[in-house]
Symmetry: C2
Subunit: 313 residues, 2 copies
Amino acid sequence: VTATVGVDVGGTKLLALAVDEEGRTIAHRRVPSAQGFDAVVADVVAAIEGLAAETGAVAACLGIAGMVDPEGTVAFAPNIPGLRAAPVGAALRKRLPIPVLVDNDANVAAVGEAAYGAATGREHVLLVTIGTGIGGGLVLGGRVYRGAHGYGGEIGHFTVDATGPMCACGERGHWEAIASGSALDRMARELVAAGGGHAVVAAAGGDRTAVDGTHVALAAHLGDAEARALLERLADGIALGMAGLCNILDPECVVVSGGLVEMGNLLLDPVRRRLAVHLEGGAFRPEIPVEPAALGERAGAVGAAVLARQLAG
Amino acid sequence: VTATVGVDVGGTKLLALAVDEEGRTIAHRRVPSAQGFDAVVADVVAAIEGLAAETGAVAACLGIAGMVDPEGTVAFAPNIPGLRAAPVGAALRKRLPIPVLVDNDANVAAVGEAAYGAATGREHVLLVTIGTGIGGGLVLGGRVYRGAHGYGGEIGHFTVDATGPMCACGERGHWEAIASGSALDRMARELVAAGGGHAVVAAAGGDRTAVDGTHVALAAHLGDAEARALLERLADGIALGMAGLCNILDPECVVVSGGLVEMGNLLLDPVRRRLAVHLEGGAFRPEIPVEPAALGERAGAVGAAVLARQLAG
């Protein structure tokens, strides 16, 4: 059995998997994300070297949360401090004895879900990763879509609410700013600041200053009406951007991954309802199913390992 | 020489061209757009029959402003009253002696511009048609992109300003509602209603009730500051949606067609300036050129004729 290594570096953790030809994970590494170019490269090299020694893996691919060009240079990575115009691909190729690719983290997650996850067998897949921010991966016509310069799929960064809250990237009202985990944190703080959200504060152990989106999720799960109303508002924001992307791309399905998906249908059911409302010509076209990712946090690393196979031949 | 016929039906006119294998127009028809299924089909049949008789054209393709499925059924055409779930393809195939395709009007325009126009030789092209509404055509990886069900490329219909003006489709704040000819008409009326826009009213021959976007363009061309400010606002709205699409799709170039492009750089220069501001990671990526369509109002019909060639073999 020939294994390949897939590595996923996000804002909080590095996950590396050695994956066999049937998509099974045969070994793994998991460490907190480093900051800065040298530290990130050192951690990725250590993970790939360790897994290659352990499993005999013949090629590797890194998915990283940022804009990656075809050479593997990370132009811009808003959630990983210290990575700007960073030649990650060149550094890895110099230090590793096996061939290695670098791609965007959401691209590799889309490949993972289309190969072994919620979109198995689909040709046109929109993957939306909703965590601290919003990322995206596109499989169009059966292939990962990277755009002309490798920067395609930055789906969190289009304006949805021109007079809305600021985005982490510095623009106003991007989808990410109204529909991510950070947006839910902000809504929770606003609710509490306005004197509401008693059940949400209770979920935070009574500490008003500690309230964030996870406490909204908990209170909503327990049936609190204010928390459910916040989730409905978040779901409408998610559906608003999702409908735009569906109008533009007309995918067969939408796969949703990332931390917020742990809420399951408590969040996804209102998203589906609002998507049907916002979709252009919704009454005249097939429904576009919205499904949670099946591979969970492993999607990116599995997809990276799948992409690494093209180097293994 | 084998000719094919391309027909473009928009909200205001029907243009039909017989085009030879080098992309040259050898005959044409032009009539105002009809309303309703029977009248639209009758006009298209008459145009194709007439041009086929005149030139010996062996196949035809219709580009129409609406959501078109692979059978040529127009699911939804917000700018052509009376077309809903309309089996235009089936009706044309029944009544015409030559094979005929039906596609979205902006898809065919993108094919035209990529074959013989401003994007000749480009593999990743975003075509934005700004007229009464906003349509779009995508050439991705060298091929027209239609999505999973044929409804891809509805780029005018994603929310850009969630609390903004209503769109013709019934949703609030779509790109089309803030960045199209109709949006400029509305801005012009609002300016005059607020007691401003003297040069704009003058451009309308002094008739305040007749003011529309064309008078803004004329006054701006003559240097009027209020009219120029309106164009800057329109340009920022255009750039806002364009930046989102560039973040999602990462095209090599953007080609802008439609009535508003007649303003030329008076409109496109501020669009380019604002696009650079709104583009994600703009300082770290190649500039994305914004060019006016080279084929003008002929782009759609020329592209339709190019697509018809695949039926002519």
